[in-house]
Each structure stands twice: as C-alpha cells, then as structure tokens.
C-alpha cells in the first residue's frame, strides 16, 4: 500500500511529473504556447500515459518548437514547415502501439500546411493534432496568419484585408473524428479536451495567444461568453459550449460554428466527436508485431517464391 506521500507524487506507472518534463522553454515569457506544453505534461501524467508510448511531431514555428519542452522520454521529430502531418503519418506505421502528438501553429497548418492538414484529418491518423493558434507568424516576427481576423490592425503589418480561416471548421468539414477548441489561458478546459483527444486518437484544435510578459488566464463557465483582451490589445469573445451540447451531431456542430462566426465568437469546448471510426493504422490491418521489429524472415519473401515470380514474367 502506497502511503499518502507517494500517491501524490507518482502516477500509476510510478512516474513523477518530472518524468514528463521537457527542456526549459526558449519561447517568450507568458506565451500561450508554454501553457499548452504544461497542459500536455499535466495531462499525460494524470492520465497515466507512458512517455515511451508517445511520439512527438511538429512543423516549424514557435509553436512547433514546443515538443522539446515536454515529454523528454518520448521520441520526437521536428519536421518541415507545414509538413508535420506527412512525417507523422509515415512514422506512426513504424510501431502501431505508439500514439502521436503533433504540434503545429496557425501558419504551419492553415497556410503552408493546409493541404497536409486536411489530408491527415481525412486519413484519421492516430494522433492528437494540436494547433497553437496565435493569429500571427510568431517565429518570423508577427506577420498576419490565415487565421487572423479580417480588419485586424497590427502596427508592423497594417490592416488584414482577408477573411480568416476557421481551423475547427476546416477539420469538421474534412471529416475529423474529433474537433475541440480551448483557450490556452483556461487550464481546466485544455486538460479536459486533451483527455478526449487521447482517448479517441483524433485531431484536436487548440487556441492560444502570443506574449508579452504575463500569462492571460480566464475562467468562464459552460455556456458563458467571455470577452478577453489580448496582449496586442485586440479583443476576442470566447464562448464555451453549453453543458447539454451533444458533440456527436456533425450538422449541429457545423451550425454552431457558423452562428459563432456571425457573432464573432470563438467556440470553445468539445465541438465534435465520432468515436467509432477506425484510424489509419487500423485500416491497414497490420501485423501484431510492430513493423519496425519484424525479423528478416518475415519481410523478405522465401527463396522458393523467386521462381514463381520469374514464371509470372513473359
């Protein structure tokens, strides 16, 4: 019987929270990306996910740097700008017992990576896909991203003339089996959606906002709409889904996002879930031994087959 002390310090695997940490963040202080990293650490620890069972992926951007800052005991690959989804797709065939966490930004997924984003959603990869949406290109210093509101004014960039892309909407249209959104400054909600994401191995959509110095935290209840002032002075209205909201209804999910767009709300919460669809790796009916552990005699056809092959030629 574990005593009270150890109970609070380790999880079911006997791992402490420190076993889930990564390297110290090199991102700006108060950056929402960091709070998401902390949420991932907390979620994996509390949900008893072995770091060895997770593989981290990312594209390029401040957000995409963050896999270095959590789960040091997990393998990870920092890929190319906008092309994390394909990297993760290939890698997760290596060992089907692994789960992916992909971290991307709004530039990484909604601009250069829109194609790969839509296709990975369509293929239902067994990966939680987190988009850390700050409305700008952080790493290249503040250009508009495709999720920036039309009419948004930034000192260095002028006024954004284009309509924004709603990534949650895109995921839903693309047949994602899980779509959720939370505000990085709302710890309760982030953890909650992570739990869903983990269980159902599907795309998750996160929302966070860029520096300066202080973390923005908001607490708001289900069904509540809350206005938040961001570091750059712009305002958004967050609207948490009602308690009664049924996330299994895709049409309803679309309607809610559409209405929210009209009111300029950002819906947070679990927007849609379809827990039964097989994921990509299931679809391929893979051997019970992970592919990367198969010995030679299980991947090279036997010697006698070569004659059969030559007989197939003319």
């Amino acid at each position: 019987m574990a005593d009270q002390m150890t109970k609070t310090q380790v999880n079911l695997f006997g791992l402490s929270k420190a076993d889930y940490r990564g390297n110290p963040s090199t991102l700006c202080q108060g950056c929402g990306h960091n709070s998401i990293s902390s949420q991932i650490i907390a979620a994996c620890y509390e949900m008893n996910i072995l770091p060895e069972n997770v593989v981290k992926f990312s594209g390029i951007g401040c957000s995409s740097k963050s896999p270095t800052y959590f789960l040091n005991r997990s393998f990870g690959f920092n890929g190319l700008h906008g092309r994390m989804p394909s990297l993760a797709t290939g890698a997760l065939f290596g060992d089907y017992t692994l789960h992916g966490i992909g971290v991307s930004g709004d530039g990484d997924s909604a601009s250069i990576g829109m194609g790969q984003f839509k296709h990975v959603v369509r293929r239902n990869l067994n990966m939680v896909y987190i988009i850390e949406n700050n409305g700008v290109y952080g790493l290249t210093k503040g250009q508009f991203s495709a999720t920036a509101e039309k009419g948004l004014q930034l000192k260095s960039q002028g006024t954004n003339p284009y309509m924004p892309i709603d990534i949650a909407w895109e995921a839903l249209v693309g047949n994602a089996t899980f779509v959720g959104r939370s505000f990085a400054g709302d710890p309760r909600s982030a953890l909650h959606s992570y739990a869903w994401g983990k269980e159902h191995e599907v795309a998750l959509h996160e929302l966070s906002f860029v520096p300066p110095a202080e973390d923005i935290t908001v607490e708001y209840d289900e069904g509540e709409a809350k206005e938040v002032t961001l570091h750059d002075g712009s305002r958004i209205i967050l609207k948490k889904l009602e308690h009664e909201y049924d996330p299994h209804d895709r049409t309803a999910a679309m309607r809610i996002l559409e209405e929210a767009n009209a009111k300029q709300w950002l819906i947070t919460g679990l927007i849609y879930i379809s827990p039964t669809k097989p994921n990509l790796v299931d679809l391929h009916n893979l051997s019970p031994t992970p592919l990367n552990r198969l010995p030679e005699n299980r991947i090279r056809p036997a010697k006698d087959t070569i004659e059969q092959v030559n007989n197939l030629m003319f």
Binding site: N23, L50, P51, E52, V55, K56, F57, P67, T68, N72, R73, S74, F75, G76, F77, N78, G79, L80, R83, P85, S86, L87, A88, T89, G90, A91, L92, F93, G94, D95, T97, L98, G115, Q116, H119, H284, N285, L286, S287, P288, T289, P290, L291, N292, R293, L294, E296, N297, R298, I299, R300, P301, K303, T305, I306, V309, N310, M313, F314
Partner: protein
C-alpha cells in the same frame, strides 16, 4: 574482355539477298487506339522465337488521339538499342502517314491501312495495303473493341510477310489476356484471318525475314518498373508513399500488385507487414517516407522530375537528420507539360546536390532491368547502413519498356539493417549512448527507433543545430564538426555502393563513361568504332559517390567520352568536380532529344573529336 560479336551496322540489302533477323519495325498508330496490345504481342512472339529483340514505345502525353510510334528491333547479334532507320513501317495513322511513308529506308517495306491514300512516289520501297476496315467489319466485334481488332490486322499481315510463328503469337496473346479465352480467341481470330488474307493477296517483294533462333532461351521479358518493385519487395520494403506521375506510376502500382501476393507473414498470414499510401502530393509522399524511415521501416517513394523537385526540402532534412529512405526517380524530360512521356537522364546533378546547405546524396544508377531488381533490394541495405537517403535513377525507357532480361535472382546476402540499438543493447551499455557520436570512426552513428521502451532510448530529431546527443545547439563548433562527420560518412559510402562495370578492348585508346539505359547504344557503338579501328574501354557508372575503380579508370586514358542523355553533360560535370586534375581529359558527349539513345549518335560524337 569483351565477348560480343563484331559488326552492327545494317547494310542496305543487295538485290534479292534476304535480310534475316536484323532490322527494325516501326508501327505508327493513334494514341489510345489499343495498339499497345498488338505491338507487345509482336515483341513477345519474336522473343519466343528465340530472336534477340527490343521494343520502345514512343508515346505522346495524351490519353487518346495524338500520334504514337512503337519501334521493335530484331538483332541476331544482340544489339538492342533504338535505331534511327526504319526498314519495316506499319502506318495506321492518317495524321502521321506522310512522315511514316518518307521514313522507310530504301529497299524497306510499307504496310498501310488501305483507306489511307498513298502518294505513290516511291519506287524504292515495297507497298503492302491492308484492308483493315473490312476486317473490322467482318469480325463482328462490338464497337468498343473495333480499334483493337483493327490493330490485330497488322499483326497477322506482318506474321505472314515476315515470318512470325502463329503459335508464338497465340502464346503472347494468352499471356496478355491472362488465359481469358474470349479475348484471346477474338484477337487471334483476326490475326489468323489477316494472315490467310496475306497469303492469298500479297506478294512479298522486300528482303526482310524472321527466322527462329535459340538466343533467348532461359530469359524473361520485363520492364524496369516492375523489376524495381519486385526488387524492393525482396528488399523487405515496409512502407511506400507515392503520388501518380508518368513514367513512375507503374512502379508503385506494381508494388500494390506484388506486395499482397509475395509478402505473407509466416506468423500472421492474414495480417499485413507493409503499407502503401497514395499521398496527396510528392511533398507528402516524401514526408511520409522520411517519417517511416526514421521509425525504422524500409521506406520508399517513387517519382519523376517534377515530383523530385517537390521532394527537395525533405531530402535535405533527411540527409541532415540521417534518415534512411529510398527514392526511385524514373527520369523523364521536364518540366511541366510538353515531353513528359519522353526519356532523359537530366536529374543527375540536381539529385546529387538535392537540399540546401551542403548536400551530397548517394545515387544508384541501374543500367538494365536486372539491375533495377538488384538495386531494388540493395538500396535498402545501403540506406540503412548509411542512415541516409538513397536515390535510384532509372528512366522512362528502362522503366516502362519491355526488355529481355535474365531471370530475377534471389538476394545473395542477408539484409543489412545498419546500426540500430534496441532495449537489450541499451541495457548492456547502461543506457549510455549518443545519437550522433561517431563511435566507430566511419562517420556512421547509432540510432534507436520509436517504440524502443528503454527510458534512455528517446531522442529528438531536428535538421540543423543538433549536438552528438541530438540536443538543440547553435554552437559554431558543434555544427562545423557535424558537417565534417557527414562528409566522412559520405566517403564511407564508397565501400558500400555498387562498383562500376568496366569492359576494356585490346589496345583501347579511348575511354567511355556512361550510365543507365544508354548501355545498349554504347555497346553497339563500341563495336562500330572497333570496326573502324578505334577500340575503347567502357566504364558504366553504377553509383555515386564514385568508387576507387573510377579514379583508376580516368587516369588511364588520354580522352574519356562521357555519354549521357542530357544537354549540359551532368555526369561530365560531376566527374570534373571529383577529378579536377583529369578535367581536360573528359569530353562531354551529352545528347538529348527525348528519345532513347542510338549507337549512331555515340559514334558520331566520338568520331567528331577523334577525326579532328
């Protein structure tokens, strides 16, 4: 020492003297009219008659409507490169009819659909009209099959006038239609009827004849893409990601065909030990391939020039993160539209440097269908040993045309999975290891794979800026040392890549260096040159980096001709970079027009300098 017989040029026939098993047949049809079945049937029948034969499809980038030519060469001496001369021409396409008519060599034969009007201004060739329309009508074939039937008419007429065995034609049709009686009978019925018609109605006035030989015994016919796919299967490929593109598509499609057939897991027969994913584009195809290679899979993609261009950034990242993967590039003329269905060797320098920053890639250069097979499995061994991308450069001619080949040989070596550490290895070392530390002094470091549950196994892959432990670093020294180690590793690759094939004639005065599908043209050219008193030594390059044999070869000859199918002499450039002290001895004989190289071009290019 060379063993081929001399004499390759075909002389204009003396009066009435028959020309046996030594000429070219060109069939001109409309693209999409089903002539492929007819042409390949002739090719296969000739092969089964024991005559050395090659067939080349010169087709437009179009599904239906544009002119297309198929040229077959028979050569009793085994010279199988394309020739520019056409002794026998079959004209089925009104659009190219005049050109086809004028292309027949003096003394040659012109077979044509008799509803096309012939100018009748050539007394130097034999004319054979064929009542194609009539046959189609009489066959009673449904309208969707009429084009196919029309094209079987010339098969029958050629069979009679040239002497193709009907039973061999039957064998070819039986193979093509996979034993399905109905289409075999329908097509063979037309062939036979046309044959009988020719017996009654045509009088042979040309000298060209086919006779059975014994020169193809024990050989098979196959295309390079099929061979590459099969070789990859025997290489244990786990993961394929691809995006359709001519002329590479049939490689991945063959993998789709053969993997389920050949890859039966003895321990879980109803489960798969492989996955093939059709990606959304080549950016994704290579991304998936890199991911899978990193995760420890034998991972590959296949593409052609345009797709290769899109793969550049990931190729560079894979070089720097040291991920094994195999990329088949079935080269074509590029870019964009125009000549995508024509062959070339234009991707060599691009592939070599593909990436940004300093990059040198390992490249394999198969020169035959058999090498497509062998390099198919060897590429994985090299990629995993070197922890590096390996590019295999084939081309449209090699990849898509049918070639005579030796039966495929089972790999003669066990797999080389390279330096991988699993849980038990890490236990032995108490978890002490570093992803990018050169422990063995060969530039190749050890790697662990995702799924390795040892708590010290994990590492984080990123492009630039990693130290020996794969930790983020922007240190100048760390980066410089990393680059130097990669260079050392590339040098190590020299001992793992296929060596060149060298053939030296007695008294050789010149050297020839070439690679890939130009091999038959070069063999033939060398014999023509030898006849003219210019014996040569020939090095067929099979890989980059160059091995020591190349260095020895280039130091031996005063003049070394570098023959390749591109404009700028890309192999010539790379040789000059590698052996600057020999630079003035290298002479570029690059030539490209979209068609497979002919011996004549090679002879001309070399003589132009030699006779100066």
């Amino acid at each position: 020492m060379t063993t081929l017989q001399p004499v390759a040029e075909i002389e204009a026939p003396a009066e009435k003297q028959p020309v046996i098993n030594n000429f070219s047949i060109t069939v001109a049809t409309v693209n999409g009219s089903g002539s492929q079945t007819s042409n390949i049937t002739i090719l296969r029948a000739l092969f089964k008659m024991g005559i050395p034969v090659s067939g080349k499809n010169l087709f437009p980038s179009n599904i239906q409507g544009l002119p297309t030519w198929y040229t077959i060469r028979v050569s009793k001496d085994g010279y199988l490169a394309r020739r520019e001369e056409h002794e026998i021409v079959v004209a089925m396409n009104p659009a190219s009819f005049l050109q086809d008519y004028n292309d027949v060599v003096p003394g040659g034969a012109f077979f044509y659909a008799d509803d096309i009007k012939v100018p009748n201004n050539r007394q130097d060739i034999s004319l054979y009209p064929m009542p194609v329309k009539q046959f189609v009508k009489e066959s009673g074939a449904p309208s969707n099959l009429r084009d196919y039937i029309a094209n079987m008419v010339y098969v029958g007429v050629l069979a009679q006038t040239l002497g193709i065995d009907l039973d061999k034609i039957y064998m070819a049709l039986n193979f093509h239609f996979k034993g399905k009686v109905k289409p075999i009978d329908l097509n063979f019925g037309v062939v036979k009827a046309a044959y009988d018609w020719a017996v009654q109605n045509l009088t042979k006035t040309d000298p060209y004849r086919l006779e059975p030989m014994d020169a193809t015994n024990g050989l098979i016919m196959a295309d390079g893409n099929t061979a590459a796919a099969l070789g990859s299967v025997y290489g244990g490929v786990h993961f394929v990601a691809w995006y359709p593109i001519t002329p590479a598509s049939s490689l991945a499609e063959s993998l789709n065909e053969y993997l389920p057939m050949l890859r039966k897991d003895p321990e879980a027969p109803d489960k798969n030990t492989f996955a093939v994913v059709q990606a959304e584009d080549e950016l994704a195809a290579i991304g998936m391939t890199v991911g899978a290679g990193w995760a420890g899979l034998r991972s590959m993609t296949s593409t052609s020039g345009p797709g290769l261009s899109l793969m550049t950034e990931y190729a560079g990242l894979a070089y720097y993160t040291e991920v094994p993967l195999v990329v088949w590039d079935v080269q074509r003329v590029g870019p964009s539209t125009g000549l995508p269905t024509r062959t070339a060797q234009g991707d060599l320098t691009f592939t070599y440097f593909m990436g940004h920053g300093d990059t040198q890639h390992i490249i394999l250069l198969p020169g035959s269908v058999n090498e497509c097979f062998t390099f198919g499995w060897q590429a994985f061994d090299i990629a995993e040993r070197m922890q590096s991308p390996v590019f295999v450069l084939s081309d449209l001619d090699l990849g898509m045309n049918q070639w005579m080949a030796e039966p495929f040989a089972y790999p003669d070596k066990p797999m080389d999975r390279g330096k991988i550490l699993w849980e038990e290895d890490l236990e032995k070392s108490d978890g002490v290891w570093a992803r990018y530390r050169d422990v063995d002094g060969d530039g190749i470091t050890y790697r662990t794979l995702p799924g390795n549950r040892h708590p010290r196994a994990a590492w984080f892959a990123r492009g630039t800026g990693h130290d020996e432990n794969a930790r983020y670093s922007e240190s100048d020294k760390v980066w410089h040392d990393m680059l130097e180690r990669l260079k050392k590793k590339y040098n190590t690759a020299r001992q793992y890549v296929p060596k060149p094939v060298i053939d030296t004639m007695d008294g050789a005065r010149i050297g020839i260096i070439a690679f890939g599908s130009t091999d038959p043209a070069i063999k033939e050219a060398r014999h023509i040159l030898a006849e003219k008193g210019l014996p040569s030594a020939y090095l067929r390059m099979r890989a980059m980096p160059f091995t020591s044999e190349v260095g020895e070869f280039v130091s031996q000859y005063e003049r070394i001709y570098v023959v390749e199918m591109n404009r700028d002499g890309q192999l010539h450039q790379l040789l000059t970079l590698e052996y600057p002290e020999q630079a003035t001895h290298f002479i570029s004989a690059a030539y490209t027009d979209g068609l497979p190289l002919t011996a004549r071009r090679v002879v001309q290019a070399i003589l132009a300098t030699e006779e100066k």
